[in-house]
């Protein structure tokens, strides 16, 4: 698998550290109710098809949101989260 780091270009998957679903980008407010935090921290879809998740490019420190297809393994898009 290869991912295009927005900073460095296409790189081997082994240069990246996986974190989890891109849901982690949508942090609830401090005073949001418990179910919003539960949702944010623990509840994930497991799609057969398009999914979006977070990868860290260790050499440059860029966090990348990768849109990919879990069935075909195609990487559809990769963009910096910042």
């Amino acid at each position: 698998m290869r991912i295009s780091c927005p900073c460095c270009g296409p790189r081997d998957r082994r240069e990246f550290t996986y974190y989890g679903a891109a849901d982690y980008l949508n942090r609830p407010a401090l005073d949001a109710d418990a179910s919003a935090w539960d949702d944010y921290l623990h509840l994930r879809d497991n799609p057969a098809g398009e999914t979006r998740d977070l990868w860290y490019h260790d050499p440059c420190g860029t966090w990348v949101a990768v849109t990919r297809d879990t069935v075909t393994h195609a990487v559809i898009a990769a963009e910096a989260v910042a």
Partner: protein
């Protein structure tokens, strides 16, 4: 070389090479494979079969060889299962046959062949079921001795291996007529091309069939094209390189044999494992011929027709009299070509009734081979035909059951091929691998002209697709014969007919599998072991499917094929793991004090990738405990020096640095004054503790934070995430400076005296109080000073640029020793911090909260921070939590151990009674007692109670008093003094 045709072949007859096989000396030529050299010496018998120990010879002339597997001996090392058809000859090559005892010609285990009825498909499962206890002790060892394919030396493989990466526009896999044309078209257009071929010499079937191309002989035309390609700077030719696997994103694995063909490889590695990333690939792997299953088709001397052609034309081997048995036009052409080369064809046998009989050799239309004779090599072939059965005298039987396109790589990402009735073979579907085009014989276009045209056409397509302008290239003229085949898989004439030579699978085994209900192709494969040997059934799988389809009454198309997975051919683990042996497994991170530390005799322990001293032994100390106790006392009474450079250091700068640190840490960092340091706690977003450390404010917009050794990487990644995901617009930047600074802890009542020996401007309790930080000139070098402690004693940490670390450490140790102190290691550091109740990742192990370690007060109520919301959810703070406590044994000399569990005094040690567990333990010379830290349910409310420490592993039960986790100087007077 008794069996060499004078003047024939692409071998270099000016360079004879001596080699040995089973202790006998032979001679071959440069350009030979081991197989061709053995055949040229009249050696047909090269091995014994896997299960029945039947005599076996060479079946193929390529990497798909199932039979001719040998051991290559190099000194005490031996490499088993080397394919004689792949191993190139070199002077001094030493080889022995495998799976035979005492000798190849007389093998005791050949008795297995007599018991064949008991050893048929599934015999493991049926015969050795009972009694159960016999399996491991009796049956399995006996079977393993009797069956097998070679043996390892048992020694470490000390050979050199490499791994490497390559990138290109177009990867052309296979350098036969198709691949050469594709590479030429792409190369002339200026694309970056890699042309990879598993053979030592490129050209593919052009070297074996030697068809005329553009008026030249096949080998000559190939040589011209290769010369042109070799001169192109944008083309890389990789011989001896097998592309073994296809992976996502245009990534290919390839194994290159670098030094395995050389008598003296010098510094060259044996093999190199490549990862090739290609924008496009052209698969031009050609096709593999398949044999026909007929009774006793495994006798040495029985070969594929294409292999016989290779040995004659490329290697000049005289095969003796040849009978050709085939069901297709390529087989008939092989008989004609052999005749044209001067080989005596004793008969052409074809099950097709309408086959041409107007040939220069006897033709048996509607004929079948029903048996062979010859003890250790072929002498006679039994042919059944319209007029009965004839015995033909022959030394070689050439089989051709048709051709299978080499489409294995197209299936590596899960694609399934189609069954082509006309070719009686599987062919690739379009789009099985994104970016890969399949050309030539690999997609069923078998004539030389068709291959040349297809290679050129698909390369042009790929170029157009990539936006690279190509040039028109005239196609060279070549034969364009049609290919017709009448499917014919197995001769029905009683006796055993082999499908999978490597695993000894016969047509009967497959039929039996079907009868016993293993009629799905994947079940049949596992029940019979068809296709599970090192050759992965390259020459046998399709025929086995056909026999299965026949037995079940389904067509081949409905039966389907088994899955092709990487690697295409065996890849040594040593090549894939090149560089990873011994210390190569993980890089070593060494302290600047490393060489002096080792010179002082300190045993080193690993901390992640770092190596740190365990303790510094002194004369008269018999055990590590004596050294450790002495180092602890040294710190408590005088001064100790410890290299703490492994702690992660992150430099944080910018106008928004303070509010960024407020978000990262639970406590307030924006209120620290420049020149001051604060202890800090970080949580994960789920409310559990991530790490702890110190945060020093070096300037208004400049902080230096420390992490624990283990968490340096994860904390950096976490900070990058929080910054980029939630506050990317804040003006803050940070970078790891762990390796840029060497840092040493000075701890003990004489710490100030020691630090002042190195400082240009001395410090005192007033001008540099507890938790102060700032720049300092240390031995003439610009460094930093921190008044922090991890021991509970007065402590300073001094930091200098790493290049001065060794000198500063040397001076510190010398000064400390003169003051009655010295260096201390990890063991003492651990005891010191346990005495003081300071936590490490033994305590903050990922499942504890700030509440659990008694630091809930550090979660600031005035601001948000990562993990704050979740840390306050129900279940994460309350009496049901296991909380940090100290444990002191009632008998101070009773040993405590980390990992032990805690129970109420009279409860049995069962899960439901579990009250908690011990995380750290050590003997305190200061308090003259064992001490431990641990987590106890509602522990803070239970100080003073007696609890039982129960270490089931060591059979240890110790009554302990629950106490506050700070054992030593709880008021902190020593720390601040």
């Amino acid at each position: 070389m008794t069996h060499r045709i004078p003047g024939k072949g692409l071998i270099d007859r000016t360079r004879p090479l001596r080699f040995s096989f089973d202790g006998r000396e032979f001679e071959g030529f440069q350009g030979d494979t081991l197989a061709s050299a053995l055949l040229a010496n009249g050696v047909q018998l090269v091995g014994r079969s896997f299960k029945y120990h039947r005599p076996r010879g060479v079946l193929t002339a390529g990497s798909e060889e199932p039979n001719a597997l040998v051991e290559v001996i190099e000194g005490k090392q031996k490499t088993p299962n080397v394919r004689a058809t792949v191993q190139e000859l070199y002077g001094g090559l030493t080889v022995q046959s495998q799976n035979r005892w005492p000798s190849l010609r007389f093998d005791v285990m050949a008795v297995n062949d007599r018991f064949a009825p008991f050893l048929s498909a599934g015999f493991y499962y049926k015969t050795f079921m009972w009694p159960r206890a016999f399996w491991e002790k009796v049956y399995e060892p006996a079977i393993r001795r009797a069956a097998g394919l070679g043996a390892l030396s048992g020694l470490h493989d000390e050979g050199r291996y490499e791994k490497a990466f390559a990138f290109c526009d177009v990867l052309v896999i296979g350098a036969g007529p198709t691949g050469l044309m594709a590479a030429l078209v792409a190369g002339r257009a200026g694309a970056d091309v890699i042309l990879a071929d598993e053979d030592a010499r490129m050209g593919g079937r052009l070297l074996s069939d030697q068809p005329e191309v553009a008026g030249q002989s096949g080998p000559d035309w190939a040589a011209d094209m290769l010369a042109e390609l070799a001169a192109m700077p944008n083309v890389r030719l990789m011989t001896r390189t097998t592309v073994t696997g296809v992976y996502d994103g245009g990534t290919f694995g390839a194994l290159q044999r670098v030094g395995l063909h050389l008598a003296d490889p010098g510094d060259l590695p044996r093999e190199c494992f490549w990862r090739i990333v290609a924008k496009r690939a052209v698969l031009a792997t050609g096709a593999l011929e398949r044999p026909i299953a007929h009774p006793d088709n495994d006798r040495p001397g029985v070969m594929l027709a294409s292999a016989v052609q290779s040995y004659v034309a490329r290697y000049g081997v005289n095969p003796g009299r040849v009978v050709v048995f085939g069901n297709n036009d390529s087989a008939l052409q092989a008989a004609r070509d052999l005749t044209a080369q001067g080989v005596q064809v004793a008969g052409y046998v074809d099950p097709r009734a309408d086959v041409s009989v107007l040939e220069e050799f006897p033709v048996y239309p509607g004929g079948q081979v029903v048996g062979t004779r010859g003890r250790l090599g072929l002498r006679e072939v039994a042919v059944r035909h319209g007029g009965g059965v004839s015995m033909l005298t022959a030394e070689t039987l050439a089989l051709s059951g048709g051709w299978n396109p080499s489409l294995h790589l197209t299936c590596h990402l899960g694609g399934r091929p189609d069954w082509d009735e006309r070719l009686a073979a599987f062919v690739p579907r379009a789009g099985m691998v994104a970016g890969m085009s399949v050309a030539g014989a690999a997609r069923g276009r078998f004539s030389t002209a068709a291959c040349l045209a297809d290679g050129a056409a698909l390369a042009a397509e790929v170029l157009a697709d990539m936006g690279i302008a190509g040039h028109d290239m005239p196609l060279p003229a070549a034969e364009d014969r049609s290919y017709a085949i009448a499917p014919f898989w197995a001769v029905d004439a009683g006796g055993r007919a082999w499908l999978d030579f490597a695993n000894d699978v016969t047509t009967k085994d497959v039929q039996q599998a079907a009868q016993e209900g293993f009629s799905s192709v994947e079940h049949m494969k596992r029940y019979t072991t068809q296709g599970m040997a090192p050759d992965q059934g390259k020459s046998s799988n399709v025929a086995a499917l056909a026999v299965l389809a026949d037995a079940t009454g389904q067509g081949i198309s409905a039966t389907g094929t088994t899955t092709f997975r990487p690697p295409y051919t065996p890849v040594s683990i040593a090549a894939m793991g090149a560089g990873g042996r011994g210390m190569g497994f993980a890089p070593e991170r060494l302290l600047t004090s490393d060489s002096q530390t080792r010179a002082m005799g300190a045993p080193m322990i690993e901390a992640g990738l770092w190596y740190r001293p365990s303790y510094f032994p002194r004369a008269g100390e018999a055990t590590w405990r004596e050294a450790c106790d002495r180092e602890v006392s040294m710190v408590r009474t005088a001064v100790g020096v410890c290299d703490v450079s492994t702690l992660g250091k992150i430099d944080v700068q910018g106008p928004d640095a303070d509010r960024f640190l407020d978000l990262i840490y639970t406590n307030m960092m924006s209120s620290i004054k420049p020149g001051r340091t604060r202890y800090g706690l970080m949580l994960r977003e789920d409310g559990h503790v991530m790490d702890d450390g110190t945060c020093a404010r070096l300037g208004e917009a400049h902080f230096l934070i420390t992490t624990t050794t283990a968490a340096a990487g994860p904390v950096m990644r976490h900070m990058d995430f929080v910054h980029q995901a939630f506050c990317g617009d804040w003006a803050v930047r940070f970078t790891s400076v762990t390796e840029q600074w060497a840092q040493f802890a000075l701890a003990g009542p004489k710490a100030r005296e020691l630090v002042n020996k190195l400082l240009e401007t001395p410090v005192d309790a007033e001008n540099f109080p507890f938790m102060a930080c700032g720049p300092a000139r240390i031995l003439g070098v610009e460094g930093r000073l921190f008044r922090i402690s991890f021991s509970g004693e007065m402590g300073y940490e001094i930091a200098v640029p790493a290049r001065f670390g060794a000198a500063v450490f040397e001076r510190l140790v010398a000064e400390a020793e003169a003051m009655g102190g010295g260096a201390y290691g990890m063991e003492a550091l651990n005891v010191l911090r346990i005495e003081k109740g300071f936590i490490t990742h033994a305590e903050i192990h990922g499942r504890v909260t700030a509440f659990d370690i008694g630091m809930q007060g550090m979660v600031s109520a005035k601001k948000d921070c990562i993990g704050k919301s979740a840390s306050q959810r129900p279940g994460l703070m309350g009496p049901e939590r296991e909380q940090l406590v100290g444990l002191v044994p009632v008998d101070p000399q009773a040993e405590l151990s980390a990992g032990a569990h805690l129970y109420n005094e009279n409860d049995p040690a069962t899960r439901v009674n579990n009250q908690g567990y011990v995380t750290s333990a050590g003997y305190s010379p200061t308090l003259q007692s064992w001490l431990a830290l641990g987590f106890l349910r509602d522990g803070r409310a239970r100080h003073g109670q007696i609890i039982r420490l129960d270490d089931g592993l060591r059979g240890r039960k110790v009554a302990c008093k629950v106490v506050h986790p700070v054992f030593h100087d709880p008021e902190g007077g020593k720390l601040r003094g």
